[in-house]
Structures are given as C-alpha cells and as structure tokens.
C-alpha cells in the first residue's frame, strides 16, 4: 500500500504538433494541470507530478515514450492518446508494465474489445457510441438515405460500418460510399459522387482536417443548398469553430461534452478558456475528468497500486461536469451519457463560442456497446 516511489506521476501523451493538436495537444496538458491543481497538488500526502510529451500520432513514438516513462520515470498513469494506433500501443505497454492508460481521444472500439486490458480505460467516446447517437437520430428526423464519405483507414471504416448498421436499424438505407485517402485536400470528386447518388444524408466518416475540407467544399459545390444534409460522425468543437457557423450551421452530430451545457461545465470551461484562449473540446475536458477520477480513486484506495486503483475505479460512480452517470466497466470502457447537438445558425449565436445547442441527451448504456455485444476476453459471459 501507499504511494510507490513517493510520488504520483501522471503522463500526458498527446498530439502536440500533428493533425489532432487542436483537439488535444497543449490544451490537454493544461486540463491535466488544472485537475492536479484543483486536487491540491497532493494525494495521500505525496506530490503529484505531471509530465507530458508529443506522440505525433505515431504509434512507435507513443510506445517508445510510454516504455521509457514506465521504465525510467516510473509513471503511474498515462492519459491523452489521440489516435487509436498510439492508444493501442500504450495500452499494450501498460499491460506489460502495469501502468494505467486512459485514452481520451482515440476512437477505436478495439481498445475495449480484442485488445482490452486490465489497465486500459477508454474514457471519452468510441466509434460505436458516436454513430449510434447521431445516426439513429438523423434517420428518425427524416434522413433515410445515406451516402458515406469515408476516410480510408480502420477508424473511418469502423465509423462507417457502425453508422450504416444504425441507419439500417432505424429503417434507413445506405446508397453507397466512397473511400478517400486520409488527409485529402480536395474532396470535390467524392462530393460530386455523393451528390449524384441522390442520398438525403452525406455521412462523413472522417475527422479533423478531412472533415473540415469536406464540409467546406460541399458548400462550394452547393450540396447543402441542393437539399442534402451533411452529417459528421466525429466532430469536435474546434472543427465547428474553424468552419464557422456560416458553413456548419444546421449540422447534427454526437459529442460527449459541450461547454455551454450546464453551470458546472460553463464554470470549468471558462476557467479553461482563461488559460488557453479557446473553449475545451471533449478530449480536453475528458483529460481533466480522467485525471481527477484517477486521483480520487487513489485517495479512496489509499494506494497507487494499479490493480487496487483499477478496482476502486470500477466501483466508482463518475459524475462531474464532463461525465454524467459515468461508470467504468470491466472491459475498460467508461460509459457515460452522450449528447446529440446541432450547430447554431449565425443568427442564433450570441458569442464567439456560442456554437451548439444540445438536442438530446442519450443515456450511456444506450449509447455504448453493451458488454454482451463486445468481445473483451476479460469479461466473463
């Protein structure tokens, strides 16, 4: 029992320079710092230390860093982890070295299925929950026929596959899809194909820059004006901000978090804004929540022994400005309520960051894949 090496070390491993740096990046580090400071800087009388590094979205860098942190820095918990490759690699090393990893940005459901780990937590969202929340809702409001623009890699495929399944489950149909290479700058060809398909909804199973480019160019080719709807499967606040309301208005998507949802979220987000100059994305808020939850668990368990901490966390209810009705499941999935949001019209927006309105709150157990559906070997069925 007690604190090993007399210090609790938390590592934030995130994308500081690559395509996801706006989503996580320095903001995630700031969020983690805030969490530690708010916790008092100490747990069980021992100092909490934060280290951070850039995984550049490269699995090898993430794995090297995680290994080094585990071997030489004696890190207790690693969070951040913005893409699935990095998250998988770190979770793997965590398993080997008994270091807890809490992925806040990666989407892949494999983290809690084939590759689930006793020390791995998937905290914010996954490629099952997002489409389930968004896809179903959109079909229900009349978007019956779909055409997908899919980023051609595992993450995109998985988003597309899951969304298609929900679309069909709600009585919609999928007219076709086109797979575009990751980091495409010109979507016009694909958009024309989507347009030609006549589908009501063009589902964007991609993220970040690809998403932004696709939306912008859809507007250029008059797709939305032509009566088709664009639906993003993974959209961050920063994406909406960078697109501008003019372009993004009316779009529906799913998110785990929106700053302007209630008093608690507003209060924290404003503090965050004061430090960083932008409102938090769901990842950044997720990092804060994850660090706080972890520290609470240590306090409760009275030790930073990873097995004990994991056990304690599994028994906790996680409720804070980020997580509503959250709880950590045996497969590592942190199940919490999700939201369906809509981008405001420019006329509705009163402030620079007044971008979204929450349409619907979806209970976690409804949004996330059930344990029974999953394939985690640690779950006894």
């Amino acid at each position: 029992a007690g604190i090993s090496t007399d210090v609790v070390k938390i590592g934030v491993l995130t994308d500081m320079s690559g395509v996801y740096s706006a989503i996580g990046g320095k903001g995630s580090v700031t969020a983690a710092k805030m969490a530690i400071a708010d916790f008092g800087g100490k747990v069980l009388g021992k100092p909490i230390k934060l280290i951070s590094a850039d995984h550049q979205n490269k699995a090898d860098i993430a794995s090297t860093k995680a290994r080094e942190w585990a071997d030489t820095d004696h890190v207790d918990m690693i969070t951040g982890l913005l893409n699935s490759g990095c998250a998988l690699a770190v979770q793997k090393i965590g398993t080997e070295k008994k270091v807890i990893s809490i992925a806040t940005g990666a989407g892949s459901t494999t983290l809690t299925n084939e590759h689930c780990s006793p020390y791995g937590i998937h905290y914010v969202y996954d490629t099952y929950a997002l489409p389930k929340v968004a896809g179903g809702a959109i079909v229900d409001t009349g978007g019956k026929s779909w055409f997908f623009l899919t980023a051609d890699y595992a993450f995109g495929h998985s988003l597309e596959k899951n969304t298609a399944a929900f679309v069909k489950a709600h009585g919609g149909k999928v007219l076709g899809q086109v797979r575009h290479p990751l980091a495409t700058s010109d979507f016009s060809s694909y958009l024309l194909q989507a347009q030609a398909s006549g589908a009501k909804v063009i589902g964007l199973a991609n993220a970040g820059g690809d998403f932004i480019n696709a939306v912008k160019q859809a507007r250029e080719f008059g797709i939305v004006q032509g009566g088709q709807t664009i639906a993003g499967m993974l959209v961050f606040l920063s994406d909406v901000k960078s697109l501008g309301l003019d372009v993004a208005q009316g779009m529906n998507f799913a998110t785990s978090f929106y700053w302007d949802r209630n008093e608690a979220s507003r209060k924290w987000s404003k503090r965050y804004f004061a430090k960083t100059g932008s409102m938090p994305t769901m990842n950044q808020a997720g990092v804060y929540s994850a660090v706080t939850t972890y520290l609470k668990a240590i306090k409760k368990a009275g030790t930073d022994n990873p097995d004990a901490v994991m056990k304690t966390m599994r028994g906790m209810k996680i409720n804070d400005f980020f997580s509503i009705n959250g709880h950590l499941r045996a497969d590592g999935s942190m199940v919490h309520d999700m939201f369906l949001v809509e981008v405001k019209k420019p006329s509705e927006s009163k402030a620079p960051w007044d971008l979204l309105k929450v349409i619907k709150q979806v209970p976690g157990d409804e949004a996330f894949m059930s344990l029974a559906e999953g394939s985690c070997s640690m779950v006894k069925k």
Binding site: G176, R179, S189
Partner: protein, 301 residues
C-alpha cells in the same frame, strides 16, 4: 459508380483543377532547378507560406495595425504573397543557397529540406494543423458556372485559368525571349555568362525569388479552395516530385503538360478506384520509368 460521360467530364474538370496546381508547382521547381541546379524541397512549404500570407493578411493584419475592420483582399494577396515569399526566397538564396553552388547539388536538396522542416515546424507550432478557412474569396468569384455537364464553382474555373496563364507566360519568357536564353545559358556555365557581361548572381537570385513566388502564388490561389494549414504543402510536394520525374526535368512545357494530365488522371482515379487516388501518380511514375527512364519530356543523359 455509374460512369456516364458527364461524370467523366466533371471529374476531368476537377482533375484539371488539381493539375493546374501541379503544373504551376512543378514549373516553379523546374525553373529553379534550371538555373540553380537545386531541387527546391522547400517549395511545398513556401506554397503553404503563400497561403498563410493571404490568410493572415485577411484575418490578422487589420487587428495588428489597429484597424480591426481591415482585411487584405484576395487581389492584393495575389500580389503581396508572391512578393513577400519571393523576398524571403531572395534572402534564402543570398544567405544560404549561394554558398552551395560549388558543391554537389544534393546539398541544395538537403538544405531546402531543412528549410521546409523549419517553416513547417514553426507554423505548426502557431497554427492549427487541421486547417483554417480563408474567407477572402472575392464576391465575383463566388457561385458556380453552368458547364452543361455540371455546375462548376466559378472560383475553381478562375483558379484553372489564372494558373494556366501564369504557366504559359513563364514558358514564353523562358523559351522565347532573350532573358530566357540568358537563363538557360546561366544554367550551364554561370561564370562564362557572367564574363559576357550579364549579372548572373542577380539573375540567379531573382530566379529563385520568382520560382518560390510562383509557389506562393499557387498557395494564394489554393487558399479559398482548401483549408490553409501548415502541412498543406508537405504531402503535395512529394507528389509534385513524382510529376517532375514523370515529365522529365528537361523542359518547361513538359512540366506544364505533365502536371495537367496527371491531375486529370488523378481525377479519373477518384471515380474508378478512389483509394488509389493519392498513389496513382506514383504507379504512373514506375510505369514511365520502366518504359522511358528519362521521363516523358526528358532528354537522355
């Protein structure tokens, strides 16, 4: 996907749009290569810089000057960005590249590779890599033109037209004027051309400035279409290299034609087999290398 002739035509138009960028970039590379014997790896980064000059001019310059409502407009950017980047090019040439002419050309490649990393790194540090929208598209270029087989955004039509105009003007100057013959001669034996009374160092400096200015120009033209991001040039440049290899470094016209036709090839691929869109040019390159190792327009060594 059903391949009607409309679809094919539409995709060819879009391909032409990409091709125009390939052409103007590979042409810039060819011009620089011609006189400095340097493959300008920084070309992509300078293209990005051009787009950023337009973007920052539109978004930030006003506030910076204390005039929040001031936006540097698109037309000004079209002029200013090449000038700014061209001047940076002049500086780079005068302080760095100049010292490398006597050594193996590979060092030029390496130096500009380093510069590309620096530029990209600095911008990545301050700007969002997932891209920022440029909102300065001028009013008259908004909307779309009916081309019978498709509605084509006016701006894209303009971007094709202006890029081609720049390409052909460059071609004319180099192949058909006296200045061009100085350039071509300077390529081979600068010190002798100098001995004939021509200010070669100045010519070299200006050529580099002009070449990178062209990249910046392409950047401004691209800004309203794509998101402006620090990494917008880094992948593009490698494709442009492949274009250059396929075309053969020898000729200016070669760069233009190859750029355009490869753009169209890429456009078609996007309908036929989209996943290969980013790579079709590289496969094309292998094919060309097997059949005509010196490139389509290249001369045998």
């Amino acid at each position: 996907m059903h391949l009607s002739y409309q679809v094919v035509l539409a995709q060819l138009m879009l391909g032409l749009n990409i091709g125009a960028f390939y052409a103007i970039l590979s042409l810039g590379l060819a011009v620089i290569f011609g006189l400095l014997n340097i493959i300008n790896f920084a070309h992509g980064a300078l293209y990005m810089l051009g787009a950023f000059v337009a973007l920052l001019g539109y978004n930030e310059l006003g506030p910076l000057l204390g005039m929040p409502d001031f936006h540097m407009n698109y037309w000004t950017a079209l002029l200013v960005a090449p000038l700014v980047v061209g001047s940076l090019g002049v500086l780079i040439e005068k302080t760095m590249l100049r010292r490398l002419y006597k050594v193996d050309h590979l060092y030029g490649l390496l130096l500009t590779f380093g510069l590309a990393l620096i530029l990209q790194g600095v911008f990545t540090n301050y700007f969002n890599v997932s891209g920022i929208s440029y909102n300065g598209k001028p009013e008259i270029l908004r909307g779309a033109v009916n081309l019978k087989f498709m509605m084509f955004p006016t701006y894209r039509l303009w971007s094709i037209a202006i890029s081609l105009a720049v390409c052909f003007a460059t071609w004319f100057v180099i192949e058909r004027t006296k200045l061009g013959s100085y350039l071509r001669a300077g390529t081979e034996n600068p010190s002798l051309v100098q001995a004939f009374g021509i200010n070669v160092p100045l010519m070299i400096t200006l050529t580099y400035g002009f070449g990178v200015g062209m990249a910046a120009f392409a950047g401004v033209v691209a800004a309203p279409i794509y998101s402006v991001s620090p990494i917008m040039g880094s992948e593009l440049i490698i494709t442009v290299f492949a274009v250059v290899v396929i075309g053969g470094m020898g000729s200016i016209m070669g760069s233009i034609c190859t750029g355009l036709s490869l753009g169209m090839l890429e456009g078609l691929t996007k309908v036929i087999y989209p996943p290969a869109a980013n790579t079709v040019i590289f496969f094309m390159m292998i094919l060309v290398l097997l059949v005509k190792p010196e490139g389509l327009f290249g001369k045998e060594q």
